[in-house]
Amino acid sequence: MKKWTIALCWILPIVVALVSLGIGRYTIDLPEILKILFSHVFPLPKTWSNMEETVVMNIRLPRILLAILIGGGLSIAGASFQGMFANPLVSPDILGVSAGAGFGASLGILLFNTGFIAQFFALIFGLCAIGFTFMIAGYKKDSPLFMYVLAGVVTSALFQALVSLTKFVADPEDKLPAITYFLMGSLGTASYHDLIIGGPIIIIGMIILYILRWRINLLTLPDDEAKSLGIPLTRLKWTVIFGATLITAASVAVAGIVGWVGLIIPHVARMLVGNNNQHVLPVSVSIGAVYLLLIDTVARSITATEIPLSILTAIIGAPFFAILLRKTGGGWS
């Protein structure tokens, strides 16, 4: 990968984040934002109001950091899965993690209202879903990958039915809308608390996948071929699944189900840098981070009430992706 591509991958999210800090119903100039940020590192004379400081530091900054982490995380998870399953239609929720985590969160909201317990439940049930998929597909050492996909479909279907069940019994006055909005994805209530819960897990998942980025090329090959390259195939597959699961479950726990990002961003990355996952994965992180950050900025500034993320990722993403697809013919062959 060329040096300037790597530089751009770092610079772009930072620039977009700085701009996004100033955008919203309460606009703040870029110099002010920089001053507020740097005042926490260097002693600077205070030329801004307390209001501005609160908006930047306590409301927008955690939200922006989460958008970057979730956007980047879901994209690297999606790219890893597309590589591993050798299938361009796969997204991070293919093994049922999102459905499981979504059910966990719904159950948490139903029983204990929103908050810490719902997030905890989301993580636990996300992992349960993967366990369930493993029980169906992975009991034999050499299960072919399509078995995992089928098992994931079964798991998703089961947990989606359970989500419907929680909705069905939920109080339609307050809990039903809370569950429904949560499942559409939102960073509207993002706080440092969310960042502390979700951030480390997402980062660990991203590091695992980033380290294995070249090995994912090998997983794209048919099983026997991959084995003949001397790699511990089953262990490698499960490490990738583990990393992607951490990211997906933690994302759902703090932001609900954010669709589309993990499916389309890896394609955009491949159109830019080719099919070698060694490059596709890091570039996906950068583009995914920028994409979700832009979407979330639109979500919180375009109307008085927040628009759920999954609606926007698809409404903005679909035409954009359609144009790319027509221009490049997919670009993955």
Binding site: Q82, A86, N87, R213, S228, L229, G230, P232, N275, S333
Partner: protein, 274 residues
């Protein structure tokens, strides 16, 4: 490197009732340095399965493989795949890697779990691309090149790990005649110049005549026979194993000899041809 199979046999778990032994008699052979063995047999005889068992991709249900007189299992996975190269049939890929990215994958046994290929690994990839004569295609996508070129790239991928044995599963089967010749010549060159032994599955008798030092022939409900090419591939035995009459044809010109076998059935009455 010497590769030896003693009393090897196999069955598929779900077909154990109907076919408790995939091979009518146990498989025994020894392959020495630089020798080429061809495996012949009709479809469904278990040729690909045999290759997988020999290399440990599948486990023999009976008997075992020895490498340099030590059981295959006593070697680590990395050790085995540094020394054995497995060449699958060329196939299209969903994501088109460039040829160089495809070939450098062969270095995997040398690259630590947490690392990615270094400059040295790419140099090894270029060297083996040169050895099979397609260095100029390094930057092309593997879905853009022809089937023959992709097959050569797959051979190159095994060469980057400096193997001592190549296992080739019908490498020439869906290629045009010219590409077949290139593949065969490449294999022969690797065995004579680099001392690499080869085990190759093939459907073509004349390819076995051209390449092989010895032949292993198998078919459903037929004993496994192993021996020198001319001893195994005789007209009566070919008829027995393939269920069709094959005629041996020898073409000689000065110092030059070509042997092949063709199915008699393909002949026609003379007055139809003229």
């Amino acid at each position: 490197m010497k590769i030896e199979v003693q009393d090897g046999n196999y069955y598929y778990d779900h077909k154990r009732e109907q076919r408790p032994n995939l091979y009518e008699t146990d498989i025994n052979f020894t392959l020495n340095n630089g020798e080429i063995m061809a495996i012949l047999g009709p479809n469904g005889a278990g040729k690909t399965t045999m290759l997988k068992c020999i290399t440990g991709l599948l486990e023999w249900k009976k008997g075992q493989t020895f490498i340099d007189d030590k059981p295959l299992k006593s070697y680590s996975r990395k050790e085995i795949w540094k020394r054995i190269g497995y060449v699958p049939q060329a196939h299209k890929m969903i994501f088109g890697f460039t040829i160089e990215d495809l070939v450098v994958m062969g270095r995997a046994p040398y690259i630590s779990m947490l690392a990615k290929p270094s400059k040295k690994d790419y140099e090894a990839a270029y060297k083996s691309l040169e050895a099979v004569g397609i260095l100029h295609l390094a930057k092309k996508s593997c879905n853009e090149v022809s089937g023959g070129e992709l097959q050569l790239a797959l051979i190159a991928r095994t060469l980057v790990s400096d193997p001592e044995v190549l296992i080739l599963d019908e490498p020439e089967s869906h290629l045009d005649i010219q590409k077949q010749i290139i593949i065969l010549q490449t294999i022969k060159k690797l065995s004579t110049e680099h001392g690499i032994s080869c085990i190759i599955n093939t459907h073509y008798p004349n390819h076995a005549f051209y390449l092989a030092n010895h032949v292993l022939m198998t078919a459903k409900k037929k004993k496994v026979i192993h021996g020198k090419v001319r001893e195994v591939m005789t007209e009566p035995q070919m008829k027995e194993y393939f269920g069709i009459e094959l005629k041996k044809i020898i073409y000689e010109e000065d110092n030059y000899l070509l042997e092949t076998m063709v199915p008699k059935e393909l002949g026609q009455e003379k007055n139809i041809i003229f």
